[in-house]
């Protein structure tokens, strides 16, 4: 197994990841990892480099399964000036991700077989696996169901109208029932339109003082409550996107205790920023759901610590630089996330790295069926024969976020100048070293 085989496909260089600590679902152990032909060839305490092998130094680093983002806006097709599959997956690779779930709110939206196939084909040369999510309703208009069975046949595992919630309880009930027979997951962007109205930030002390129309926490919470009731009623399966309030987290905690098929993700900005960031009216800090008070931030962290929350998902949402020059209430919501998520989790959460990796890699992989049990090659474990989707993390390295140095086509990170701990050194996607020493290789 130590010789390059010379086979043409699947190929890729032979790699030795040397000196690190392997961390996956089975625990942590000091080991070198040999990668050949796109797969993990061996995991041993000491592996001699075969002739011609690329050596990736991992001294002091953690060798983990590649990260899996459940919530990425790649913007292609339709808004290629803000992000493309190529630039978005390059940012993903630099962030340690080897798979991203691409949200369907593109233009056109991913609500048809043609649209899904198009993104799948565009993703063939990407530097991370792109798992295409489909829309729940045609045009994401919340009026009638998209052809979910047909899209499931193309490999779509997650459906969402993200950017908007499905407003009609009756339609959501039908969607949950229909999805049950397809083995797919519905993911809800919880935002009741009649409560959110034109709210541009969290409704509370800061919105009142700044005179910015707010959206109340209840706009999120009523839809979480409704969908838990619908999940119970339909014996359905629901995933809650980017939960942000203490009450939402508590409802999920209780639904899980009850045994309902409910999962939840939170975004890094909801555990690392508060509504106070909007004080300067800078649209960089406009996001849906909005930044919340510190008490909600604490509840999100607690939900991550106690297992209520299943995944950290970026909600990576690129926007053109000129949108930052719009008035706060007219600017599009959303912020970049792929290159800062891991470091924010390491820096802001008081969790062991193994738990952070569970939230960023194998739990989201399993949630959406990208793991080996679901037939995929993401989320580990790192054992011989497994597809080589790996990241190497230096958990103690510190770095400063520089928007102009990000690989994304957009620059809208709210963390400019922030000093973070935890850096991705190398990323291996299907055996290819797409990131070496924090540099994208293509």
């Amino acid at each position: 197994m130590t010789e390059r085989t010379g086979r043409t496909a699947p190929s890729g260089p032979t790699l030795v990841i040397r000196g690190g600590t392997v961390s996956d679902t089975t625990g942590e152990r000091r080991a070198d990892v040999l990668v050949a032909d796109g797969k993990v060839a061996s995991v041993e305490e000491r592996i001699e480099s075969p002739r011609g092998a690329v050596v990736l130094e991992a001294e002091g680093c953690i060798v983990a399964p590649g990260l899996v983002d459940l919530h990425t806006h790649l913007r292609e097709p339709g808004r290629e000036e803000t992000e493309t599959i190529e630039t978005g997956t390059r940012a993903a690779a630099l962030g340690g991700y080897t798979a991203v779930v691409a949200m369907p709110n593109t233009d056109p939206p991913l609500d048809s077989a043609e649209a899904v196939r198009n993104v799948q084909e565009l993703s063939l040369s990407a530097t991370a696996e792109v798992a295409v999510a489909g829309a729940i309703t045609v045009g994401r208009l919340g009026e009638r169901l998209a052809p979910m069975a047909e899209l499931a046949g193309l490999g779509v595992r997650l459906f969402t109208d993200d950017g908007a919630g499905v407003q009609s309880a009756g339609l959501m009930r039908r969607a949950l029932e229909y999805a049950r027979g397809l083995g797919v997951i519905l993911a809800q962007h919880c935002e009741d339109g009649s409560l959110a109205c034109d709210g541009a930030m969290h409704e509370g002390a800061w919105s009142s003082r700044l005179g910015i129309p707010g959206m109340p926490a209840a706009a999120e919470e009523v839809m979480v409550a409704r969908d838990i009731a619908l999940t119970r009623a339909t014996a359905g399966r629901i995933h809650f996107l980017h939960l942000s309030t203490a009450v939402s987290i508590e409802m999920v905690r209780r639904a899980k205790a009850e045994g309902l098929a409910v999962t939840a993700e939170v975004a890094p900005h909801h555990f690392s920023l508060t509504e106070a960031a909007t004080a300067g009216f800078d649209p960089l800090f406009r996001v849906n759901p909005p930044l919340r008070p510190a008490s909600d931030v604490e509840a999100v962290k607690l939900g991550l610590a106690d297992g209520t929350v299943d995944a950290i998902a970026t909600d990576h949402a690129p926007h053109a630089p000129e949108s930052r020059d719009l008035p706060f209430d007219q600017a599009p919501p959303g912020m970049l996330g792929l290159q800062t998520a891991l470091a924010l989790a390491v820096s802001e959460l008081d969790l062991p790295l193994q738990r952070v990796l569970a939230l960023l890699s194998w739990q989201p992989a399993a949630l959406v069926g990208l793991d080996p049990i679901g037939g995929g090659g993401q989320g580990g474990p790192i054992v011989p024969g497994a597809p080589a989707n790996l990241c190497v993390i230096d958990p103690t390295a510190t770095w400063t976020v520089d928007p102009s140095a990000l690989a994304s086509r957009s620059r809208n990170t709210p963390y400019a100048g922030r000093r973070l701990t935890g850096q991705v050194r190398h990323t291996v996607f299907r055996g290819e070293p797409v990131v070496i020493d924090a540099e994208a290789q293509r």
Binding site: G211, I212, E322
Partner: protein, 323 residues
């Protein structure tokens, strides 16, 4: 010289000393306004531009009159016919205006925070907030304070009587930039502010607001009020959905003749205008001697002259020296 801020963005940026300074400087400009030729050379050679992205005849005329009485050159930027309509961004518009050599921009915008953002973009131009969204309208609050001080005897005596004054702000506080500025202005000068409104027209949170009390009972507040400051029901901002009907609003919160009769004899009635007669104020109440609505308008010019003087008029090239 006091620590007067570089820009006038929010009443919260002004402390009692700065407010007092504005009021005292305004005294001299009120005097100028009474002259046969009400013009001074203070801002000769300076250029100010009004950028009104939201219609407002009254405030724009007041600012432009103030600037002209100080001999400034005044450019009026009409957002409706501007390059913004052609797709130019707000930031590019502002940077163009600054490049032309404008000393000060007076901005009105329907979105909260626009003057604050513009202040971050400019290098030397002085930004004056003429009303942004629901956020702030500082010169309105300053002219209200000036008008009350004048009615209380003017000068230092009137100023001293602001302390402990009981002010009721009545109406659509939720959507009101005027109310947010008034609350900061009155409380900075030691007045006690009571907000009177149906719950739907109050801000969602009053956490950190320096108000003494909140009431839903105008009849209980009026006999104890020294100043009643009414706000317009802003139906164009969707206030309509916040009360069942204007009729019901007037029944609960309108200053009718019957309600005006229970006011203390020396109580003052203010309204930032434009007034909607028969809704927040009865027509005959608006004509009472206690109603200072036209004084507010005329004092507005002097207050804006004072603000321009303090921001731009310090020395022959005050604005340029701020770099």
């Amino acid at each position: 010289m006091s620590a007067f801020p570089t820009h006038l963005l929010s009443m919260e940026d002004l402390g009692p000393e700065e407010i007092t300074e504005v009021l005292r400087v305004a005294d001299s400009f009120v005097e100028v306004g009474r002259r046969a030729n009400p013009k001074v050379p203070t801002l000769r050679g300076r250029t100010v531009a009004t950028l009104f992205f939201e219609d407002s005849t009254r405030t724009r005329m007041s600012f432009e009159t103030a600037a002209k009485r100080m001999s400034a050159d005044v450019l009026s930027f009409a957002a409706g016919s501007s390059s913004l309509k052609k797709g130019e961004s707000l930031r590019d518009t502002v940077e163009t205006i600054e490049a032309i050599g404008i000393d000060s921009v007076i901005i009105r915008h329907s979105s909260s925070g626009v003057p604050a953002r513009v202040a971050e973009w400019v290098d030397h131009c002085v930004v004056i907030n003429a009303g942004d969204g629901w956020h702030q309208h500082p010169t309105q609050a300053l002219l209200d304070l000036y008008t009350v001080r004048q009615a209380l005897g003017g000068g230092d005596e009137g100023l001293a009587r602001l302390e402990g004054l009981r002010v009721a702000i009545v109406g659509d506080i939720r959507h009101s930039r005027v109310a947010r500025s008034q609350i900061a202005a009155y409380t900075a000068m030691g007045a006690e502010v009571t907000l009177v409104a149906p719950s739907t027209l109050l801000p969602p949170s009053l956490e950190g607001w320096p108000v003494a009390s909140v009431s839903h009972d105008l009849d209980a507040v009026l006999p104890k009020a020294d100043v009643v400051s009414l706000l317009r029901v802003q139906s164009e901002r969707g206030s309509g959905a916040f009360v069942p009907s204007l009729r019901e609003y007037t029944a609960g919160y309108g200053l009718t003749a019957r309600r005006a009769a229970v006011l203390q004899p020396d109580a003052l009635i203010l309204h930032p205008g434009p007034i909607v007669r028969g809704v927040e104020i009865a027509s005959d109440v608006a004509e009472l001697p206690a109603a200072l609505i036209t004084d507010q308008v005329s004092n507005g010019v002097a207050i804006r002259m004072a603000v321009l003087f303090l921001l731009l008029g310090q020395g022959p090239a005050g604005g340029a020296l701020r770099d």
